[in-house]
Symmetry: C2
Subunit: 332 residues, 2 copies
């Protein structure tokens, strides 16, 4: 079973990489930046270079979709990098291609708040894609950087799908119909994502789940089955949003960046400010087989389970990360 996780932001260590292998994880979309600007993003890349050097027996970089098969063959975990915000490009259209050259395969247009490109899901109102945002979408299409709208607001997401000539994804969220969190997505958005050729990665972050940390595996797999009916089996995958071993200070950075003088509790609250308690059936990277087993019990056939557990993510990267010029050449 090829296993790909469409979103993690852990406090990376050899122990975690070993757990990934134990859980049969072949590739992970690792978050490189939340609020980091261009220069700071380069330092995050530098940290990954060090990890690839120190743990080259366990992990390797994924620069193109085919690298995931190579990682699997070598018995390693492939790491593909994405940003949860557009802060790495700051106000500079030219940074899209520069970041793509450095291996940034995926970028969210917003992280909760209004960005220079689009509106985040925590703003009161959403006026859609900005002038700069239109240019960035075109440039991401050109260089083969995947547009991720996980933390964006509804109108901006629908406009991004309309403006983009290539698939748009939600790497980590769930349907609002399952749990009405601000971060989850309406059926309208999910249908548009599927229509674009994109993908939804199901989140196992308790704030995105019915009954929070007490959400059952059965309910989770039932949500997947209903979403498969809505989006089609080719357009769903996993995006656990797993944040292993992170201190509360990192959660505070994610929620507050540098923009707030008062503590913003995001999906939590003052009384519930810390990381949520993990799910009993998905504690860490060793529990991916539980997911596959749950899908099997829910009645999915093996081909569908393979799609959900990893194949759809590989095909999505094949469709979206090749530069437009190379696609045209191949078609000619």
């Amino acid at each position: 079973m090829l296993t790909v996780d469409g979103l993690q932001y852990s406090n990376w260590s050899r122990e975690i990489f070993e757990q990934m292998r134990e859980g049969g994880v072949d590739a992970v979309h690792a978050t490189l930046a939340y609020h980091e600007n261009t220069r700071e993003t380069l330092s995050r890349l530098g940290e990954w270079n060090r990890r690839f050097e120190a743990h080259g027996d366990l992990i390797m970089p994924v620069r193109q979709a085919a690298d995931i098969a190579r990682a699997r063959q070598a018995g390693k975990v492939g790491i593909f990098l994405g940003a949860q915000n557009c802060s790495p490009i700051e106000d500079d259209i030219d940074m899209v291609a520069v970041m793509r050259d450095l291996g940034l395969l995926i970028m969210q247009l917003t992280y909760n708040n209004q960005s220079l490109l689009a509106c985040g899901c925590y703003e009161a109102e959403d006026s859609g894609i900005t002038r700069f945002g239109r240019q960035v979408i075109r440039e991401m299409n050109r260089v083969g950087m995947v547009i991720d709208m996980s933390h964006s607001a509804e109108r901006s997401t629908l406009e991004a799908v309309e403006l983009s000539e290539r698939p748009v994804i939600i790497s980590h969220a769930n349907p609002s119909s399952f749990h009405p969190a601000r971060r989850n997505k309406s059926d309208k958005v999910l249908a548009a994502i599927a229509e674009s050729g994109g993908l939804l990665g199901f989140s196992a972050y308790p704030f995105h789940l019915k009954n929070g940390p007490d959400c059952t595996l059965e309910d989770f797999c039932d949500m997947i089955a209903r979403t498969a009916d809505l989006m089609g089996i080719e357009h769903i995958g996993i995006g656990t949003d797993l944040c292993q071993a992170q201190p509360t200070s990192v959660l505070e950075w994610m929620r507050n960046g540098r923009w707030s003088k008062e503590m913003d509790y995001g999906e939590g609250s003052k009384a519930n400010a810390d990381w949520p308690r993990p799910l009993s059936w998905f504690r860490d990277n060793r529990d991916f087989p539980n997911l596959a087993a749950g899908l099997r019990r829910r009645g999915f056939d093996e081909a569908s389970i393979r799609r959900i557990m990893g194949q759809n993510w590989v095909e999505l990267l094949e469709r979206t990360t090749v530069p437009a010029a190379a696609l045209e050449e191949a078609a000619a």
Copy 2:
């Protein structure tokens, strides 16, 4: 006649400073940054430090309103610095106080495009002040940095006035009723600015004027008279938007920053891409006496002319640039 110009962005030189003295200019709001980020803004400040050092016989920095009287007494031009965009603070609420400490007295929340704080007047739609924007307004109020909405869209401007506890200004623009440019302001906005205790600086930039470069001094002064009726004589001043001796490349930087791969012509067009031809009655800093003479011919009394030509700007800075804590102490 105390003369204050509420906006200039010239290719600063000794010649221009001499022309200012010749024109009787006592103080100028000089634009420090259009798209410069925090680090780049520090370099712009460094350039001003050099100018103050090299031309200390002609110019001096204005760090508080009272410095304008000091400049006048010393026969020098006082320079007070402002940013036409929020790029100097990037995504960092703490940079408001840091920039204020460095002498940035005025900051626009947007420059034409959507910013992290608010919406610019060139976006298709305006969803108002963002979450970060609310915090920045509060912080600007606290440290005594003037909120300038010259390049902002209507709803964002009205919301800024509503959210701000201190006066909000339009340093350089004209009423839309005089000329319906995108950069000009509705009567509703102008009334709100006056109500806040703020100020409108009348722009002499031909794109903001009826008949463009052929706008007559009579029409200009008539516009001032009608705006005085709307806003009150205490809430109007001059903000010429004079950009002396700037090459076209600077106009392109103002319009395009780093956000556009295609040339954006702003208020111009492909066929009219360059700086506009200057007004016959306001070619450069030597022509301020023409303005006062025009107001006199239009029937303004001397007290009103003094207000428009400079006194209102001084009083505005007195009201807005003292830190809130110092105001409270003074009141206690």
